[in-house]
């Protein structure tokens, strides 16, 4: 040993030293959110109504793809939790790929599963319906966002805004997975604003919240 620990530092560490259980790996910790994700997917249509073409698109394309999207959201939350571990920061390419894939998923699923395109709200109700979907999605994402923020804060996010944006994206996808069982509109303006906008909103909210809370340690 060449460099002895300074006595004051050693005393401070020794006073506080006790066996510590390391955090579980990020993707294992993300599994904690499964019950919340399931509850969100079920409750968004369950508390209101299901889209009228559920029978047309079929069980797999409705429920299967929704739970698949929610699972993708949880994977992105896992990526965010990994980003929150010192020394495991994502490369720029990985960040771009994750965000691009996350934002693309709802639109790809819509393209694959829609029973008819250009289905939109009645004339004059486009804004109201868009805001309605945005609000339902944003509110539904809140429980998952709080839980994900708590999980991330237990680590040490060295780029808190990025970690927050990623778990916002993941939680936004989970909320949208429920929303797609409730909303059957396929017109681009509604999908982009009411659905995509809510996911982006969750990203922004997550980034701002993590930026405010993150650097205090």
């Amino acid at each position: 040993m060449t460099t002895p620990t300074p006595p004051k530092l050693r005393d401070a560490i020794r006073r506080d030293l006790r066996p510590t259980r390391p955090l579980r790996p990020p993707f294992v910790r993300a599994l904690v959110l499964i019950p919340i994700a399931v509850a969100i997917v079920l409750s968004v249509p369950g508390l209101r109504f299901f889209r009228s073409d559920m029978a047309v698109i079929g069980f797999v394309k409705a429920w299967g793809f929704s739970f698949g999207q929610a699972l993708a959201g949880l994977v992105i939350v896992g990526v965010a939790l990994r980003e929150s571990i010192p020394g495991r920061a994502l490369s720029r390419g990985a960040v771009v790929a994750t965000v691009a894939a996350g934002l693309a998923i709802p639109f790809v699923l819509l393209a694959v599963t829609a029973s008819a395109f250009n289905v939109g709200p009645e004339q004059g109700r486009a804004w109201e319906e868009g805001v309605g979907c945005f609000r339902v999605s944003a509110v539904s994402a809140i429980p998952a966002l709080i839980a994900a923020a708590f999980l991330a804060a237990r680590a040490l996010p060295t780029r808190p805004a990025l970690a927050g944006a990623l778990y916002g994206l993941g939680c936004g996808l989970v909320a949208d997975a429920g929303l797609r069982l409730f909303c059957e509109y396929t017109v681009p303006s509604h999908v982009l604003f009411g659905h995509g906008g809510a996911i982006v909103g969750a990203m922004v909210f997550g980034a701002v919240a993590a930026k405010i809370v993150g650097p205090r340690r």
């Binding site: 460099t3 002895p4 620990t5 530092l9 030293l17 390391p22 955090l23």
Partner: protein, 183 residues
């Protein structure tokens, strides 16, 4: 020669189990390298020593984020970089705060002869010293470090309203001192 990662991982695992000698071994393995790294970042030997201590304290606080079996070196360097960036950010805030206070004082009495001392920041520091310690702490945590009153209350073990009152009174006293020292 740096110890191999496997040895560092073993030290880290022992440290997680509560072994202070494992911490000593990690300190011995990393102190020199980390100090060099921090010095290259901040170019100030005294500050680098402070940051080194803070890095090891942060390592201790965040030790549960280490994942057993993974390399220790990138984990420790990421924490050192984080500590350096946090310090740089808070120093920037403090500088802006002191510059802002000095600018306020200059605006209050631009014709006064003590502009030189205000620019030096001495006046602000003197005024800060005149503020009672509890008020000064709340004032600096809020206006310099950017903490919310909820966080300050949690840190100081007081009510949120008490934190607000302390910061407000501290600021008022500081302004009075600044005005008094000019008039």
């Amino acid at each position: 020669m740096d110890p191999p990662e496997a040895e560092l991982c073993a030290h880290m695992q022992a440290y997680l189990d509560g072994d202070i000698e494992a911490f000593d071994a990690l300190y011995a393995a990393f102190a020199g390298r980390l100090r060099g790294y921090l010095l290259s970042q901040c170019r100030d030997a005294t500050l680098a020593d402070d940051l080194l201590q803070e890095t090891f304290m942060q390592i201790h606080r965040s030790r549960r984020t280490y994942q057993p079996g993974r390399p220790v070196t990138p984990w420790i360097y990421a924490i050192a970089r984080h500590v350096h960036l946090m310090k740089r950010r808070s120093t920037g805030r403090r500088t802006r705060f002191e510059d802002g206070m000095a600018a306020d004082a200059r605006t209050a009495d631009a014709s006064h002869d003590s502009i030189g001392s205000i620019v030096d920041g001495d006046l602000v520091r003197r005024a800060l010293r005149e503020v009672p310690a509890d008020q000064r702490e709340a004032l600096l945590l809020h206006h310099v470090e950017g903490w919310s009153f909820v966080e300050i209350a949690a840190r100081l073990g007081i009510r949120v309203n008490a934190a607000k009152t302390r910061a407000f009174r501290g600021m008022r006293k500081m302004r009075d001192h600044l005005k008094g020292s000019q008039g």
